[in-house]
Symmetry: C2
Subunit: 229 residues, 2 copies
Amino acid sequence: MPFTYDYPRPALAVDCVVFGLDEEDLKVLLIRRGQEPYAGRWALPGGFVRENESPAAAARRELHEEAGLRDVYLEQLYTFGAPGRDPRGHVISVAHYALVRLSDHRVAAATDASDAAWFGTDDLPRLAFDHGAIFEMAHARLRAKVRYQPIGFELLPERFPLRMLQHLYEVVLDRPLDKRNFRKKVLEMGILEELDEVETDVSHRAARLYRFSKARYQTLTKKGLNFEL
Amino acid sequence: MPFTYDYPRPALAVDCVVFGLDEEDLKVLLIRRGQEPYAGRWALPGGFVRENESPAAAARRELHEEAGLRDVYLEQLYTFGAPGRDPRGHVISVAHYALVRLSDHRVAAATDASDAAWFGTDDLPRLAFDHGAIFEMAHARLRAKVRYQPIGFELLPERFPLRMLQHLYEVVLDRPLDKRNFRKKVLEMGILEELDEVETDVSHRAARLYRFSKARYQTLTKKGLNFEL
DNA sequence: CTATCATAGTGTAGGACTCACACGAACGAG
DNA sequence: CTCGTTCGTGTGAGTCCTACACTATGATAG
């Protein structure tokens, strides 16, 4: 069933850079393409935007269809529209990035689509289309944004020890941080809730668990806090 | 001549928030709409993206056609795609913002399109579509970005006294700055070229003129400078 | 030519923040 | 009971930020 318009329209797509955090490093979710163009190559999950669907909604739909992911933190990144970026014709893609808790989602992504896999961010294969450039921009944005907005918590389990939070920042910023200074800064900020609970199943002294308090963050933000790490 | 596709395609547009700087305040360029919808309302300059045209190219073309502007600083802002934002159907708009030197461009914009005008940023009329929200986002982005990237110079004439630079920051950040601290910071950064020239036609002591040196900025950036004001 | 007016241009000191740095306590494993 | 591993904690030096006021210069008006 064909659709007809008075003027030509470029096609509109979305692509998503999905980040997850490991014990070791930062991961990205890729999908192996089954069809031409770039059949067999790894690519970012994505697809075409339907009529009367916002780009954000399209991105969420595709993440669910292609990787079984739901309820993730999602933010628009940039719109890539150079003619020639897709050999099928002029396709403009609204790129997004998403942050997921790997502990919750690792399995889902691996089973739902048999050709989905997590890759370490410094160990990516060559990607289809201009997805390499999209990934680079997303990575840069994450590094920048994590420093002045508390989005990093989206990568952690709900309750976490401070070591895990520090590890997150070390992995994302790609440099070591001082433990005492890091703890002081984060705790003094007052956006963490100290829980009456410690880690379990560790073969050494167990660390106290914390939880990010969105409520406290919003209160403090109104009072002029500026989150910065 | 109709254009036909196998799947429906939303229409793709661009809109531009064009900022200029006055002796008094920050201005935005608006165009009065001649046609429905929103005929007679003020709106951001913009229009539809053609096939095989990148969004940035479309934005530049529209700025030229609707306001006679060329060679402006242009950056992508965000893509607005909520269904319902345009009563004609599903139109997705890649919003941009532009910075121009009012001294050069004020006239052009006023003559080329008789229904174009500059408005003070705290004195805007109600805008068509979701252009009010687009403007707000652009304004917020400019305020944020001007602090860590030397984009403010795009709003000034090539040669300017330090007072004018300070005035720019005061207007954009909407708070007064200390003269001595401001000068110290800017000059110590080393990105300004001190010229052998002073203001003319002023009825008081004339100030020295400076020029932003892109070359120095890039050199220093590589050496780890981080611009911050 | 003198007085007036407007803006240019300049330094310092107190407080806040940043950064580097090391060791005893807790707990599980063997 | 010993070993191994991670937890949790404070201080001092240096740097950066901020607040603050007066003299110099040049144009204009009387």
